[in-house]
Symmetry: D2
Subunit: 498 residues, 4 copies
């Protein structure tokens, strides 16, 4: 049995009493186990980070950035190996894992711009001969807690920027698919990062709680479900830390009557079923405006779904893989059942997919449900599975009300050709990330990622420009020199001057 | 008895059962009382703000800014009246009140630049024919909770920026000196602000708690003491809000052997005793490096203090006035007593000041204490009175350790002529606002205000650039238009096109 | 005869031999004359500016900005008087003059944000213990040369920003309508601007050439016609100055088949005929895509033009006034004649307008010409009169080719509802200012104004963010302090330290 | 005989009639010759760039940036080979060539941040439902003309930023040491740059003039001597192009009485003699304030210079190498002679250096001249050789007057420990790049490089943030959509909608 440990102060630590199996969701097998860190182990990691901080903080930003340049090269060189690890433990198909990794690398690229991003603001003569400037100095030791669904990408949203800003980091990734995360962190050392600057501890609530209360941790970034995000945010805040906690989602696409329907269907296919819908930006609800649009959408989507292929991560021709666990598979099926029971129409049914050779994998097939209404459980909650639900409304205003009334406000999209409709939508929709004919509007790395309402707690979004401000403290300096000394000295040979 | 009410939806509300006297601390008299808002009254204010929000949000930023241009004019025209109100209820001398108001107006000036400050980031071609941009949209209804010591200035740190960003506001100012705050808010209406956009509720913990838990409040800005700041931050955060909570301070100045001593003493005089030391940026500890510097500092300071004049707010020749309440007067004296008991030297004793004609005023005279040590209560806690304590150390490193070890990290200063010493200090001191020969390094309005450590909870500082980000939500939009429709149409005369 | 002089060092100078009459173009009368400055007079102005520079440069930006706050108030208080002056000498109707002034005031509002706009960039630790920052320092004395068509607005594009950046200014406005320009400059003094910081010299080529070659002038901003712009740019550059020279225009609107035609016609009406078309942003060519669009456009426009009213500046019900001179009136009519001769269709003919009571005014009525082709003189050259020409094409691509092939690239517009068409247009059109359903896309004051191709010479645009960079010089500072001196001193009582 | 050709459209072109030998200045030998491009050849390069432009312009900035990421890797991998080429043709020692290359690579690193740097400004609601944004679009084909003294670095100041902004480039490097420049440009293709985007033409005035007048060239960046810079600037400007032309220098260091003298001497040694003084940032004049400082400086410098070693590029222990040509060697010696004749004191005489084995190399030894006065030719002109001149003055004010009166204003430095002196200096010195105890204050790549006065013509500096603005055109877009069409449609089933 292969054991996955922690990375603390440059060393892999595989000691620890509590362990948990890591599954291959495509087969249902388990050939690895992960160590769950104790409080003491997490504190070791924090101590290592704290010890590495003074020297790392004093390292010029351009030198910190150059480690990211090398890190990017190493990530590209090791892409195949990383994607294999992701596939084995998470189940996503190679092309999808490659996409994830690429999105992660883009954050490393952004971090390479640290010297520009860290510039402070300088004001000559705020008063007569008084100057003032603001700097963005690092915080110290900061922590990240990340989910199973993007074991490579989400950690890369956090620590590259945290590190180039001058902080040291303790990462607590998901214990369900920890291998790629740990491997990637080790590449940082190969890229030249000093020991202790980056640390990884695998674990469960014990590790999380240790990070949330330890006074040496200055800030916490979290991505996961909303109930946990809420717990993280209130607990970290109660301990005086800054915190950004990203939670769940229910992302709607409005399909307008003037939409390019073939394009919309094609886009939705990937956005709804890619990565088995286990994405916080998955497009899980399509809101058709008018019956004509609704009918066209459902019939074209049902047809397009005939060629969708669910299966094991290792076969490149598959479109998406299994969900993460047996329990989660059952939960997704439960949501489909409930929709059916509450009167929705199951147009394409993915509850019993046949994946030859992988009978014990945790598969759910692509599912299309029509005539969904806002009161249904399947509409109100996040399913996190390959299920696209269609709601039908009579006007764009109704469609927007649906979205604005929902608890979550992560992502959304409108399909239209009309400039006015698109503009009205972007202005009035209560959602943080908005697509115009882009169903998965994950901002590029040089913008920032964040939802509204109960999809994000905190004020600064993840990665991009906001992350600079999250991972630094503003220091404002005001400077006035006393009346001229050496400058106006007329007799420079006097012995009291050196 | 004059009654001070609330401003809700453009109306002054003077109903309410619970009332509290407002003192004139120069005389000890009370001729006004303030109404303490009930939960229902605060909710009325929130409802008014919520109702005014959609139209205010849709008002172009340049028009919002123009109300601030007019507000600035009105503040300048009404400066005398405002300063009288401040003097009567807070006790600060006219020149000091004028300084406070001016610092407040500077935030209004900054808010006039809203159209520039609110610019989002636009990226053409994040992918082929895909554009992305980020906007900074208002939050909705936001709240401010402010302290007694700057009844005009601290509210003006908050709502001008919150308003021009498109938010509506509910302010809960200090109930000890509420008149100027309320009067100023009414000027906003005269400047053209629509009813309901700005609301003021006077009150106590009931009002505060209502703001902290009401789901319609999106964000809370607070300035006050650290224990309350901590409560505000954890409570608001536990209710999912964004929050910035500024707390207490213990601001040290390091006096280096090469300092321009006369200048340093002159600067410290105002920084330690101005406004009776009731400023979160008051310079309350001088750390002398070397005995020569210490001796010179104490003797010159003692001499300079001979001309310091404490007295009633209405006499322009006074340097500073009373403290805010009888209890606070006793508390300050208690700190001086404790220092004496713990072995410090009372060089100048302000415990029994004689202010002819104002025998019942809450006065404490300027006090200088030498040989203070870090274990003394008077050193560890914030006194918030006209007391300057001198600590003596042997090296700059020791002086910095003192500062970095203290619980607070609001402001600090070094007196030196030496570029290297100043640079080392700004780099390594764990304090948010740093002065080089500037003992009260309050950042100008176009930088931002915030301490480190337990002087501020949250990630974004008050006013200036950080306030734009605090009072707005980032919305990231990604846009791609479908394959050309009208553009590539070859037959434009067909009847189906309008 | 009323004499209009210069403003030099705070004094109005009315001496000078060469004079020129100033007309009232609504009546053809002249009751004022303007003095044309000699080389020596211009050099006096430059010397005054040079003398005022050191103190103005040292004035903190916030104080410079506060003069702009007061200037804005004064402009608003004197708006009626200013608009009368503009009307009398330029001929534009009150509502139009008010619009011009308001656009000018917006640049003053922008200049009020100087402290924010002038922030430099600060980098801690560009190397170990080495810091670097860049400041934007003023240039010294800079000059502006402005056209007759916006005697209030165009100067206000230049000097408010130049002044708050710390420069002193010499303005050479149009000698055809100099009164409002001079009056406005005098308000600056009332607002508190020190003498000599702002100077106005009226004049002709002699004044211009003096400014272009005097070595004390650091930069020249120009707005006028392209041949002069080209001369200004090459001459100023040959004398080592920085220069931005804005020239002529031929602004096209594409009317797409899906346009909201009533809206388009309504918009075009103001954009083509407002201010008699004497605007560098006037929309003078409408390109109809497809015959249906062309027919609808021409018939609706002809109908809408029936209510257009040309007449004297002083009657509020008029839509637009006379052109600037008799010669210009003849030139405009000549262009209409040439179009007719070259085969175009004069749909609405404004060549002989009847303006009762103003028979000697320089009027041209609103003119609509259809079937214009790119080879016609009236198409190739800038008419600067109330003439709208319609060109018909078969595709959007053809319409864009027309625009991209034209010598000028100032402004342009597309009327469409289609997001894709608009996006393609903004991306590929070779024009500096682009409107989507906005026919007069003059950027707001917080963006910058500038055309492409032969409509602008230089790299930085007028007003807005670009003007900060144009009116300042970057200074890059790199700082390292030698090994610690005073900081690490161990014996601080030695007598050699003060 | 090895022939060095051009790089046009991805091909090395070695045809051409006019050729010129390329020397090895360490030996005086020549084993290569460079082809001097005819007008037709330069026009081929421009045509290739023009043809490549549409596709390169449409390539997303992030993809353009990724070519720079790969280019950086290739530069690092080929560093040894590049430095050999530089050494052979320019003569600089390996460690110095490495420094040059590293500084060049830093500009490539900066260019990797293109997606961030190219962000435009977006404003929602500049009016009701009207949005505006500004983009920074590429210019088209731009040109660079670069000097012999940094054959790798100076071109890298220009084209990486020009390219990532979306432009195509034609480089005319120095014909004296063309090999490294050409080799580096070829690495760009290996990095994935499409053919024609980057072109190199070797040549002389014919090539330069072709670039200056060809209408397809949109912008010209130049680095060289001031007379040529002036010619370039006025000629390019007269042809309507934007231009930045960097010229000569005479960089002074003020040595204050309180300077850390050992440090100052050590710093000056490298700054004065490194690269034989053939740097536009070479520190060639030391201004000593007070006789004590002057005496100490001269004696310590003379002593330190004893270990200075001049010699061939290929020996690592040498401090600096030969100058570029025999004529230049004679010119430098001529300046030393003239100083001697005009009364200065030759303290260390480098006129006849002995370099064993390299008797025909173009060597000048390190030379120190004391008692130089401002009227001497050697003071007024740029020597561009390993000569440090000392001027003695009595006050800092006198020292600054010297600097401010000099024709050039490229770089300068002050050696002091005093904060006030340093601050006064940075505020008032008329020089673009200022060092505090940093004698060679070349800004880091993320700030911008540029002198003042006759050291730079144009308004935007080289590389860094300014280069983004230089290599792009601002396009301002204002957008309003007509009254709602599809959004408010009530009957969506009508057949005319697709």
């Amino acid at each position: 049995m292969n054991t996955i440990g922690h990375l603390i102060n440059g060393q892999i630590i595989t000691e620890g009493e509590r362990r948990q199996p890591v599954y291959n969701p495509s087969t249902g097998d388990t050939s690895r186990e992960v160590i769950l860190a104790s409080k003491a182990t997490v504190e070791d990691a924090i101590a290592a980070a704290q010890a590495a901080y003074p020297e790392w903080r004093a390292t010029p930003p351009i030198k910190r950035a150059r480690i990211m340049f090398r890190f990017k090269e190493l990530l590209e060189q090791n892409a195949d190996r990383i994607c294999d690890m992701i596939g084995e433990e998470h189940g996503k198909i190679r092309h999808d894992a490659m996409g994830e990794l690429q999105r992660g690398i883009e954050n490393v690229e952004y971090a390479c711009g640290a010297p520009e991003l860290l510039k402070g603001e300088h004001s000559r003569n705020v008063g007569p001969n008084i100057d003032a400037w603001s700097e963005f100095q690092p915080l110290g030791v900061v922590a990240g807690i990340t989910p199973f669904n993007f074991p490579a990408m989400v950690p890369l949203w956090m620590y590259p920027m945290a590190l180039v800003c001058g902080n040291c980091f303790v990462l607590k990734p998901s214990e369900r698919d920890p291998s790629s995360t740990l491997f990637i962190a080790q590449l940082l050392q190969e890229a030249g990062l000093p020991d202790g600057v980056m640390n990884v501890v695998n674990g469960d609530k014990e590790a999380v709680d240790t990070l949330l209360v330890d006074p040496r941790i200055q800030a916490v970034s979290f991505v996961g479900s909303t109930p946990i995000a809420e717990y993280i945010y209130s607990t970290a805040s109660a301990h005086g830390k800054r915190c950004q906690a990203l939670g769940g989602a229910k992302n709607h696409a409005i399909v307008m009557p003037d939409a390019d329907m073939d394009n919309a269907v094609n886009q939705l296919l990937g956005a709804a079923f890619g990565s088995s819908g286990e994405r916080c930006m998955a497009l899980s609800v399509a809101v058709a405006v008018g019956d004509a649009a609704g009918d066209a959408l459902v019939s074209k989507m049902a047809e397009a779904m005939q060629s969708l292929k669910v299966g094991a991560y290792c076969e490149a021709s598959n479109d998406f893989g299994p969900v993460i666990t047996r329990q989660h598979q059952e939960k997704v099926v439960g949501y489909i059942n409930s929709a059916e029971e509450q009167g929705a129409t199951i147009v394409v049914d993915g509850r019993n997919p046949q994946v030859a050779g992988y009978e014990d994998g945790f598969f759910v097939g692509g599912t299309l449900i029509d005539n969904v209404t806002p009161d249904m459980i399947s509409y109100r909650e996040e399913i996190f599975g390959p299920v696209l639900q269609v709601v039908r409304v009579n006007s764009m205003e109704d469609a927007m009300t649906l979205i604005n009334d929902h608890e979550y406000g992560n992502g959304t999209c409108i399909f239209t050709r009309d400039g006015e409709a698109a503009r009205y939508f972007t202005d009035h929709i209560q959602v943080g990330m908005v697509g115009i004919n882009v169903p998965l509007p994950v901002p590029v790395a040089y913008h920032s990622f964040g939802g509204w309402k109960r999809s994000l707690f905190g004020d600064l979004h993840a990665y991009g420009p906001d992350s600079v401000r999250f991972y630094t403290r503003r220091k404002a300096i005001t400077q006035r020199w006393p009346s001229a000394g050496v400058r106006e000295g007329v007799e420079f040979s006097m012995p009291t001057m050196k």
